[in-house]
Each structure stands twice: as structure tokens, then as C-alpha cells.
């Protein structure tokens, strides 16, 4: 999972097209290029932090929810714009999805503990250390990751409100649904989606047979993890203490410190060697980058990328972080002379 939303910590498989429209979970448009180990460590830190929050303090998460609600307005608008532009074919999905989603959310509540066992080990393991002192260069991450995790704890509310929302504000509702669609599907479907998404995302840049061999595995491997994380949070956020406890226990049972590195290694296993950060970054740049910030005020532009995509992707040099910018202001320019 080389890509991670800097807002909510959601991770994306290499080449995933989802993030091109902003983060489906929180609408954030800032991502970092997360090398496998860092990503694993961070996602574990984020989710572990969340476990603490949702397990113990309802007030804390409520406060966090309200703060995310503010940013949600922007996110919703961005998501709307993107959807209008990019996925006209998916316009009908949300409605079809609505039922499925609320169903799957409900079922998640009951099944959350079980599927978690495959992953939460690392979450819990990482909790004590990374919650307080995560790895140096991304110190702020667990902090920022926490809020949206709390927020993703709130989708239960959203799901419960679904019928009224659907009638009053279809767009907002569908925005909630739309991002969740991939994560509510079964694992196998998810993997398939991921592959087609990758192929699609690259089709104009790299022939599909050129897809890196390791990209399938991370897709399959990382998505269940993030999915479980996402699914679990609603369950925990629903204030069912039993679930939270069960989860924590399950996590403790299977807790292994080196789970994240294991997870990371799987990503590069097919190629037999772990690509360096530089290689991954170069690959990322080649695939996606449309604007490179050499330093403030100095830019290099990939005209073909700019021509081929609605959104443009700006890579910052440091930390492999980058921004996907969706210039919705272009819409408003129809009357011309400004």
C-alpha cells in the first residue's frame, strides 16, 4: 500500500484509482507515498489510537466528530465535483449501494470481531509505543489519523440516518455511500476491483501488461487490513462496549510486534526483493505526477499527464507526500471573463 491519505490514514494499493478522486473516506486530497513499512506502522498506530478513543471516551470522539464534520463540507464538495467529472458511470451506484452498505454496516457490527483477528494483532501491538511516540519523521500522523478514524466510527450514525438523508439530501448521502462502496464489498471482489482500477488508472500511461508484479499482492493484502480497520471502527464507534472489548482481546491474543513489517514484506514478495523508497517514488512519479515542485516557486510540469487527467497531482519532494488537486473552480469559469 504505497499511498496513504494524510487526513484519515486510509491506505491505497499501488495504482488505485480511488484516491484520484480524493480519499473516499474523508475526502482529503493530500496523500503521502508511504513505503510499506512506514505505512504499516502508521496504519497500526492510527487504528490503535482509535481503539483507545472509541473504547474509552465517548466525549472525545464526539468532539473529534464535530471537528471532522467541518472539514467534511469541503470534502463533500470536492467529492461531488470529482464524481461529476470522473465517474458519471458510477452515478447510479450509490443508490444501489445504499441498501447494501447499510446492510453491510449492520452485519459488520456482529461480525467485526471475527474478521479482525487477521489484522488487529499489529494494531494492538503497535498501540503502546506508536501511540505515544511514533517513528520520527511522521510524528504528526497518528494525531491526524485519529480524527477521521473517529469519524469513520460515526458512519453508524450515518447509516442509521440513511433513509431520511436519502430523501432530504441525496447528494450528501451518496457521497457518503460512494466512497464506502469498495470497502463494503467482499474481499475477493475488492481484489478484483483493485486490479481493474489499477489497470484503468494506468491505461493511458502504462500498458496493463507492464503493471508491476507486486501490485496485486499489496492490493489484496492491504485492503482487507484497511477494510477491517474501517469496518471495525463503526462497530466500536457504535458504543457497543462488548465489541470494543472483544476486539481488544482479540487483538491482544494475536498481538505480534513484527506484524507490520511482515505485512510490508508481503508487498514486495513477488518480485523477490524489496524496492527501495527511491524506486517506489520514481515509479510513482512516472505513473502519476503531473506537477513536480522542485522548490517553492519552481515547478516542472508533465504536460501529457495534465492533458490526460481532470485532476492534477502535485508531488512534494520531501517525504514522498503529494497532493491531488481537483480544480473545481474550472467549472465556475463558464461565463468567461473574470
Amino acid at each position: 500500500m504505497p499511498h496513504q491519505c494524510t487526513n484519515c490514514g486510509r491506505t491505497f494499493a499501488d495504482g488505485s484509482k480511488e484516491m484520484l478522486s480524493g480519499c473516499p473516506d474523508c475526502g482529503g486530497n493530500k496523500f503521502q507515498f508511504a513505503p510499506t513499512t512506514t505505512a504499516a506502522a502508521e496504519s497500526s498506530a492510527g487504528t490503535a489510537a482509535d481503539t483507545d478513543d472509541s473504547g474509552s471516551a465517548g466525549t472525545a470522539s464526539a468532539a473529534a466528530q464535530s471537528s471532522t464534520a467541518e472539514s467534511d463540507g469541503v470534502a463533500t464538495r470536492a467529492a461531488e465535483t470529482v464524481r461529476d467529472w470522473v465517474s458519471s458511470d458510477s452515478a447510479d451506484e450509490p443508490t444501489a449501494d445504499a441498501a447494501e452498505r447499510s446492510r453491510s454496516d449492520d452485519s459488520t457490527a456482529t461480525s467485526a470481531a471475527a474478521p479482525n483477528q487477521s489484522w488487529p494483532s499489529s494494531e494492538d501491538a503497535a498501540a503502546p509505543e506508536s501511540d505515544t511516540s511514533p517513528d520520527g519523521e511522521f510524528d504528526e500522523w497518528p494525531e491526524t489519523a485519529r480524527r477521521p478514524e473517529d469519524r469513520s466510527g460515526s458512519p453508524d450514525e450515518t447509516a442509521a440516518d440513511a433513509p431520511t438523508e436519502a430523501t432530504t439530501d441525496d447528494r450528501t448521502r451518496s457521497d457518503d455511500d460512494w466512497p464506502d462502496q469498495p470497502s463494503s464489498g467482499p474481499t475477493t471482489t475488492m481484489a478484483d476491483d483493485e486490479n481493474s482500477a489499477q489497470a484503468d488508472a494506468r491505461s493511458t500511461v502504462v500498458p496493463s501488461d507492464d503493471l508491476p508484479s507486486h501490485s496485486e499482492t499489496p492490493g489484496r493484502e492491504s485492503d482487507p487490513s484497511s477494510r477491517n480497520g474501517a469496518d471495525r471502527d463503526p462497530a466500536a464507534g457504535s458504543a457497543v462496549d462488548a465489541h470494543a472489548e472483544a476486539e481488544t482481546e482479540a487483538a491482544v491474543d494475536t498481538g505480534v510486534d513484527d506484524q507490520p513489517p511482515d505485512h510490508g514484506r508481503v508487498v514486495s514478495e513477488p518480485s523477490g526483493q524489496r524496492p527501495s523508497i527511491e524506486e517506489l517514488r520514481a515509479e510513482l512519479n512516472e505513473q502519476f505526477e503531473s506537477i513536480k515542485i522542485v522548490r517553492p516557486g519552481q515547478y516542472e510540469l508533465n504536460l501529457m499527464e495534465l492533458y490526460n487527467r481532470d485532476e492534477y497531482i502535485i508531488s512534494l519532494q520531501e517525504d514522498g507526500r503529494y497532493v491531488i488537486d481537483v480544480p473545481d473552480s474550472w467549472h465556475a469559469d463558464d461565463d468567461g471573463e473574470d
Binding site: G297, Q298, Y299, N302, L303, Y307, D310, W330, D333, D338
Partner: protein, 212 residues
């Protein structure tokens, strides 16, 4: 040509309303920074509508948002061709604020640089989505064979859009229209000086012929 044009305009506008067959074609004015795109757009707009499109400057990237002038009615040989002209930001592969620091302080230069970069993105977006024809403006005193020019003209060709190449700045001593004709022999090249208004008749003839 003020009064005369106005009179003709009002007549042709009336006939156009009666016999308008289709939406006016949207013609994008493209080219590298400082080729004279806005000067040309202003020249066309002033000649046929009386209004300007945008500010001109010798500092590159003066135009950082696409600007549109709608319903520019160009009258040729008794017929009227109506087009929307879109003046786009100059397209380049590199933007460097140090290019502007002689003209403004560093903060403004960096902002200009950032806006220029967004402008390129917008210009490319327009090229993909919103133009029906392209006027490609080149500074005829500069070498036309650059990555940007070949790539943009390649994109235009791949979209099968009608394209005219305007060899601008023929008033400059270093101007060489032939260098441009040789670089892009597959397209019609029209020499002009948008600043001086030289050869504008041929410009309008070709616009009417290619985009009418």
C-alpha cells in the same frame, strides 16, 4: 473601423439570429509563454467587438487563467463567422519564479509562478475538453522546435482539431517565418504582428476559412 464595423455587426447579428445553424466554434489560442497570445486575442476582440480580453505584458505568464470572449463575429467576403476565442495561459514544462524576480519581489514572483503552473494545467484541460479549433501562436523570433510546441501540436493533431499556426512578432528583426513553416510544414502558417496589426486581413481570412 469602428462605425463601419458596428453597422455591419448589427446587420450580421440580426441575420445570424435568423439563420444561425450552430453554436459558435470555440477557438483556443495556444502557445508558449510570451508568444503574444493575449495581444492577438485583444487585437481580434478589439477589431470585432471593441472590447479587450486581458492584460498584456512583456513579463511571461501574465495570463494565468483562461479568458474567453464569446460571439466574436468576423466578417469576410459578405459572410459572417462567429467564434468564441479562448485566450489560454502560456504552456511550458518549467516555471521558475526567478524568471520574474527582476520585475517584482520574490513573494510576488513565487505567487506568479504558482498561478502560472495552475494556468498551464487549466490550459491543458481546456485543450482536452473545450476547444473546437486551435490557433497556435509562436514568436517568430524564437526557435519553434521545442518540446512544448511539438507536444502541443501533436496533441492537437491527435484530436483532429483544425489548427492554424500564427508566426507572430514579424515586426522584430530576428523574426523568421520560414523557420516556423519549416518546423511545421503540415500546417498553414500565417505571419503577423499582433502588436502592430500587420497582416491581420490574412489572419481573418484564414480564421474564417478554417473555423467558419
Amino acid at each position: 473601423m469602428g462605425l463601419f464595423t458596428e453597422l455591419k455587426d448589427s446587420i450580421s447579428r440580426a441575420t445570424d439570429r435568423l439563420f444561425s445553424e450552430q453554436e459558435p466554434k470555440r477557438i483556443g489560442i495556444y502557445g508558449p509563454p510570451n508568444a503574444g497570445k493575449t495581444t492577438l486575442a485583444n487585437r481580434i476582440a478589439r477589431d470585432w467587438t471593441g472590447d479587450a480580453v486581458g492584460a498584456e505584458s512583456h513579463v511571461p505568464h501574465e495570463t494565468r487563467r483562461a479568458r474567453r470572449k464569446e460571439n466574436v463575429e468576423i466578417e469576410r467576403d459578405g459572410k459572417t463567422v462567429t467564434i468564441d476565442i479562448v485566450d489560454t495561459p502560456g504552456v511550458t514544462t518549467k516555471v521558475d519564479y526567478e524568471e520574474f524576480t527582476d520585475e517584482m519581489d520574490e513573494e510576488d514572483a513565487i505567487r506568479r509562478s504558482r498561478e502560472a503552473t495552475e494556468g498551464v494545467a487549466e490550459a491543458m484541460h481546456w485543450l482536452r475538453e473545450d476547444v473546437d479549433g486551435v490557433i497556435y501562436v509562436l514568436d517568430s523570433a524564437e526557435d519553434p522546435i521545442t518540446q512544448v510546441n511539438t507536444m502541443l501540436i501533436g496533441i492537437v493533431e491527435s484530436r483532429d482539431l483544425p489548427v492554424l499556426i500564427f508566426a507572430n512578432k514579424t515586426d522584430l528583426d530576428d523574426s523568421s517565418v520560414k523557420r516556423i513553416e519549416d518546423a511545421f510544414p503540415q500546417h498553414k502558417t500565417v505571419p503577423l504582428s499582433a502588436k502592430e496589426g500587420d497582416n491581420m486581413d490574412e489572419v481573418y481570412d484564414n480564421i474564417a476559412e478554417y473555423f467558419g
